[in-house]
Amino acid sequence: MAWLGVFFVAPIVIVALYSFNVYTLFPGPHGFTLDAWHTVAGSGIYRHLFWKSIEMSLIVSISIVVLAYPLAYYLALSGTRRKYVLLLLLIAPFLTSYLLRVLAWKVILGDQGVINSFLVWTHLRAPEHPISQLLYSRFAVMLVLAYIWLPFVALPIFVALENLDQRLLEAAGDLYASRWRAFVAVTLPLSLPGVIAAFFFVFIPTIGEFVTPSLVGGTGGYMYGNQIVDKFGAGFPDWETGSVLALFLIIVVAILTALFSRFLQPQRVAAE
């Protein structure tokens, strides 16, 4: 506990102090003010970036939850004997290096990458006019994020479906429910907590994402997280404004966690 107190809680308190100008990067007159908060709140740029990041994470999280649901459904309910081997096959990419998977997409999407080379080779596209929007765009960021998180999302949904009492489905069948009706009335509602947990486990980390956007995002894919990094970077450091942005992100995440906490049971996911 003491460990977390010193190295987890204390750092966040320091960030808060920076944001209120109690500490500053450059020596000079300082004291408690809300200036940095006023500046950020009044600036359209930060607000715009924040909403853009929320929107991008929402699109990514919702689409991969929708994609992952049938996968988890197949594994949990089709009665396939090798379901754990298949589950491991699905999840294994998630356990490999994050940066390497981003690298793979750079190789695929680049101006001279796999897709464009293929298009040139098949004469669908002239060599001097590759589809350059593939890399360094919002689309690239969202595609790569979806690729990275997809395997992970299947896990909580699988756990929820796996724990489903199959007798309920049989009962529905005995009562002459159609397959579709049994799914809508029994399976879907009972697996909903897993779906919500899955959504949350992707949505939270992707709001604060900065590595993928900085590698494949260009200017179009620039996200809130990149803004924070730049405030602490080598160029024009502004630790006070950066702290406000960082603290705001923590607050948003904390509120979301509190709202969703009743659906989150990481223990159950890990036990599988």
Binding site: F7, L95, S97, L99, Q112, A182, T187, F232, I250
Partner: protein, 267 residues
């Protein structure tokens, strides 16, 4: 299985979809492998070569970065698992006031954006005047990997019958002897998977490390900067393939090993 869950045709469609997604997940990795043996400058494809592998073996900076990451990951996994065992025993065996709050706090590093956490630790070390280096990264990594070790250890502890430990106490063993002779051997498979998880998570971690490492570079930091200079790309792809295959093998072996041991022990 109940046939109401899935018709024959439905199962077939879903199996096809599953295969498609798995192909989508592995295709990029396969492409990396192909390009790592490609005998010309990226991106045109021609001939087979081991040139890039040789270059990476001869690249001192890259080897140093891999080595730094390995040291950090080793220290992190040991520290995180030691703390993880202590806190898991407290969570699984003791009853104390404020337990829900404590367990929420222990797991909260799971949801904090690493970027923000890295910055926060940077500010803390800056404030108390600790210079950045390997120890600071290890501290950061222990905090973020601790919840994973707890998530692996607590379910295992809950599976073990407390009666076994109580029997040891009745026979006059003290806490430490009981832990060493009874509890620890029983949770060993979980301890090993916790070590592996912490090791791989730390080895791959970029955000926190980039703020805390100072002038040295870890493997992910090296990769990140290499990704910005295309001339190094083929070499980086070669390393990437090696690291990918090693980590996939370790993960698969660990998981299968754990299931095997647990089914043998029959708990």
């Amino acid at each position: 299985m109940s046939t109401i869950a899935l018709s024959k045709n439905g199962a077939r469609v879903l199996r096809g979809f599953f295969a498609l997604v798995v192909a989508f997940l592995y295709a990029p990795i396969l492409i990396l492998v192909i390009f790592s043996f490609n005998d010309s400058d990226f991106p045109s494809l021609s001939g087979f070569t081991l040139r890039w592998y040789r270059q990476f073996i001869e690249n001192g900076d890259l080897r140093a970065a891999l080595w730094t990451s390995a040291i950090i990951a080793a220290l992190t996994s040991i520290g995180a698992v030691a703390l993880g065992v202590l806190s898991s025993i407290a969570l699984a065996r003791r009853f104390f006031r404020g337990k829900p709050v404590v367990s929420a706090l222990l797991l909260s590093p799971l949801v904090i954006p690493y970027l923000v956490f890295g910055i926060a630790l940077l500010l803390l070390f800056h404030q108390i005047g600790i210079s950045r280096g390997i120890p600071t990264v290890v501290i950061g990594h222990i905090v973020i990997t601790l919840p994973y070790t707890i998530l692996v250890l607590v379910p295992r502890l809950e599976q073990i019958e407390e009666a076994l430990e109580e029997a040891a106490y009745d026979l006059g063993a003290n806490r430490w002897v009981t832990f060493r002779l009874i509890t620890f051997p029983l949770i060993l498979p979980a301890v090993v998977s916790a070590l592996l998880i912490a090791f791989t998570a730390s080895f791959d971690e970029y955000a926190v490390a980039s703020f805390l490492v100072g002038t040295r570079s870890t493997f992910p930091i090296y990769l990140y900067s290499a990704l910005r200079f295309p001339s190094q790309l083929p070499q980086v792809i070669a390393v990437a393939v090696v690291v990918l295959l090693v980590s996939l093998t370790v993960v698969a072996a660990a998981e299968l090993g754990r299931r095997f041991v647990e089914s043998r022990v029959g708990v």
